[in-house]
């Protein structure tokens, strides 16, 4: 059973979102996701300053492991304000600490945008259960 912190929000595509206050959120991939991917070897970040739209079919970042390359999707509308540079030399940080030092990028949410549309920990746990047929 993977770790799913209760204070965070989640997406169907296995991203977690933490409200940092002032309309800023940090985003990463969940423990469940890093487990499925295996040892991460590379992270392709979005560009700082890029304006991203939630719900788009196109991924905005890529995490690459030894056996797969997975797209990361934008959880809420916003602008990328920071990326986790430490992942360039140590992508495996995501495996060891997916929710803290393994954060991938930070977004400044578009005015009025909130996290209500995202899943809470319980809903995400159920979602993982149903996917794991």
């Amino acid at each position: 059973m993977s770790n799913i912190p209760v204070e965070l929000k989640y997406t169907k595509t296995h991203e977690w979102v933490r409200d940092e206050g002032d309309g800023v959120v940090s985003v990463g991939i969940t423990d469940h996701a890093q487990e499925l991917l295996g040892d991460l070897v590379f992270v392709e970040h979005p560009e700082v300053g890029a304006a991203l739209t939630a719900g788009s079919e196109d991924g905005i970042a890529v995490v690459e492991s030894v056996k797969a390359a997975s797209d990361i999707y934008c959880p809420i509308n916003g602008e990328v304000i920071e990326i986790n540079e430490a992942l360039a030399d140590a992508p495996e940080t995501i495996n060891g600490d997916p929710y803290e030092s393994g954060w991938i990028f930070k977004l400044k949410a578009v005015d009025g945008e909130d996290l209500e549309g995202l899943m809470d920990a319980e809903a995400y746990a159920e979602h993982c259960e149903s996917e794991d047929h």
């Binding site: 070897v41 590379f42 560009e47 690459e64 030894v66 056996k67 797969a68 390359a69 797209d71």
Partner: protein
């Protein structure tokens, strides 16, 4: 691991297991109207002996012509050892090295090939090869569009001096992917890319500029200036080079005068000059090198060196997460193979010649072409079309129809050159001639004498 096809007995067992009477029955769902029928008008098959006789008769009609045609495929000397080794069963029958433990020989050779290419081009990374020069250009275009994050236009600047077949193939491959190839004309005096025409695009959004070196006419382009211009305008540089020429010319990794932004970003070309016989156009191989920054956008196989459990060096396919068996529709390309056999020949060829040997071959080609052009332009009615430095090929213009001249020369066992009127009508009766290191002084003199005879005998002269 040997390949053994199913025996008749095994086939019957399998059919019985799935409850089917015959293989034909498995195609029952295909509507009768769509079924393939017996092909009509196909003659009886011939025996091996009859085919051999037919082939020999046809070959005799080819004669022993001296080849002065270049235009992308060159008649070079291939040391006997190259194909003697390449056709050894271990190399000849090796399959794609998916299972590293069973393929160390193949993988090591491909790694050595990649190392040689990065040295020759002075680039960071090489892949394990693509199909040929033309499709390599197409892949480079796709890669530049993906890799140049700052450009959104999907447009690429392509000089008209790039090989016409490469331009056509690139166009075919990229045209339905939202990419536009914009042609840049050439200067009729120098045979190089027209700088003034190029300058008109300064400040516009293009993902890359393609720079051939030498270009299709054999002329050398001012690669440093063009590289700096492209980078200054936010474009990547795709170099399309002759690998032999790189033994004596400045390699693409060093193009440009700017310290940190210099060097081509992607380098591709046709590998045929390195150990592949002309053989009617193929098989050849395409090579591709790129800078470190772009390695994850590079298509094709890439071999990496690593260590095994005991710390001993070993080789593997690496960066596979880009490829389609993992990334599917988001892969860098649909290509999931390479030209292993041709690459084997090229690697052995380069090992035998070494850097010095390659440079000597290149110099000999340059000298021979100079000698050829000198003797040909000494003939009344033959003139060199472009002024400036060139590598092992040049364009000459005749005061008689080129087609006729070539026919007359062929009758004397001379393959005079590549006729340019179809691809470059603006050049009139022009011919692209090439003399590699294989052409002897006698063959060159014979060509000149035959052409002189044809020119003076021509009615219009």
């Amino acid at each position: 691991m040997p390949f053994i096809p199913h025996t008749e007995e095994e086939v019957q067992q399998m059919l019985a297991a799935i409850g089917v009477d015959s293989i034909a029955q498995l195609f029952d769902e295909i509507p009768p109207a769509l079924r393939a029928r017996e092909l009509s008008g196909i003659p009886e098959g011939m025996s091996e002996m009859e085919v051999g006789a037919l082939a020999r008769a046809r070959a005799r009609r080819d004669g022993q012509a001296a080849c002065f045609i270049g235009a992308g495929a060159y008649d070079h000397h291939i040391p006997a050892a190259v194909w003697e080794l390449t056709t050894r069963g271990e190399f000849y029958s090796a399959y794609t090295p998916y299972q590293a433990e069973a393929s160390q020989g193949t993988l090591q050779l491909l790694y050595e090939y990649q190392s040689m290419m990065t040295a020759l081009m002075d680039m960071d990374v090489s892949n394990a090869s693509l199909y040929d020069g033309a499709s390599a250009v197409a892949e480079a275009v796709l890669m530049a569009v993906r890799g140049n994050r700052k450009s959104k236009s999907g447009r690429i600047l392509v000089p008209r001096t790039l090989h016409p077949a490469y331009r056509k193939v690139a166009q075919t491959i990229v045209r339905n992917q939202g990419i536009e190839l914009v042609e840049v004309p050439f200067d009729l005096r120098s045979g190089q890319l027209d700088r003034a025409a190029l300058e008109k695009h300064a400040g516009d959004d293009f993902a890359a500029l393609v720079i051939p070196q030498p270009n299709f006419f054999g002329m050398l382009e001012p690669v440093d200036e063009l590289t700096d211009w492209a980078h200054a305008n936010g474009m990547l540089v795709i170099g399309v080079v002759n690998p032999l020429a790189m033994a004596v010319l400045k390699p693409p990794g060093q193009w440009g005068r700017e310290e940190n932004t210099g060097g081509a970003d992607i380098v591709v070309g046709e590998g045929q000059p390195l150990g592949a016989p002309i053989s009617s156009g193929g098989p050849y191989f395409g090579f591709m090198c790129c800078s470190d920054k772009l390695v994850r956008q590079m298509p094709g196989r890439i071999i990496g060196k690593t260590v095994d459990l005991e710390g001993k060096p070993g080789y593997v396919l690496t960066l596979q997460a880009r490829e389609q068996h993992i990334r599917r529709s988001k892969a860098t390309s649909n290509i999931c193979t390479n030209q292993g056999l041709l690459v084997t020949a090229a690697t052995i060829h380069m090992s035998l010649l070494g850097a010095e040997g390659l440079a000597r071959v290149a110099a000999a080609c340059h000298e021979n072409t100079d000698r050829l052009v000198q003797q040909l332009t000494a003939i009344d009615g033959v003139e060199a079309v472009f002024e400036g430095p060139a590598f092992h090929e040049r364009v000459i213009r005749l005061s008689m129809p080129v087609g006729e001249a070539l026919k007359g020369l062929a009758a004397k066992d001379v393959l005079g050159g590549f006729e340019l009127s179809q691809d470059y009508p603006e050049l009139g009766d022009s011919l692209l001639v090439c003399a590699t290191e294989v052409r002897t002084g006698e063959e060159i003199a014979d060509y000149a004498a035959s052409l002189a005879h044809l020119m003076s005998g021509y009615d219009g002269n």
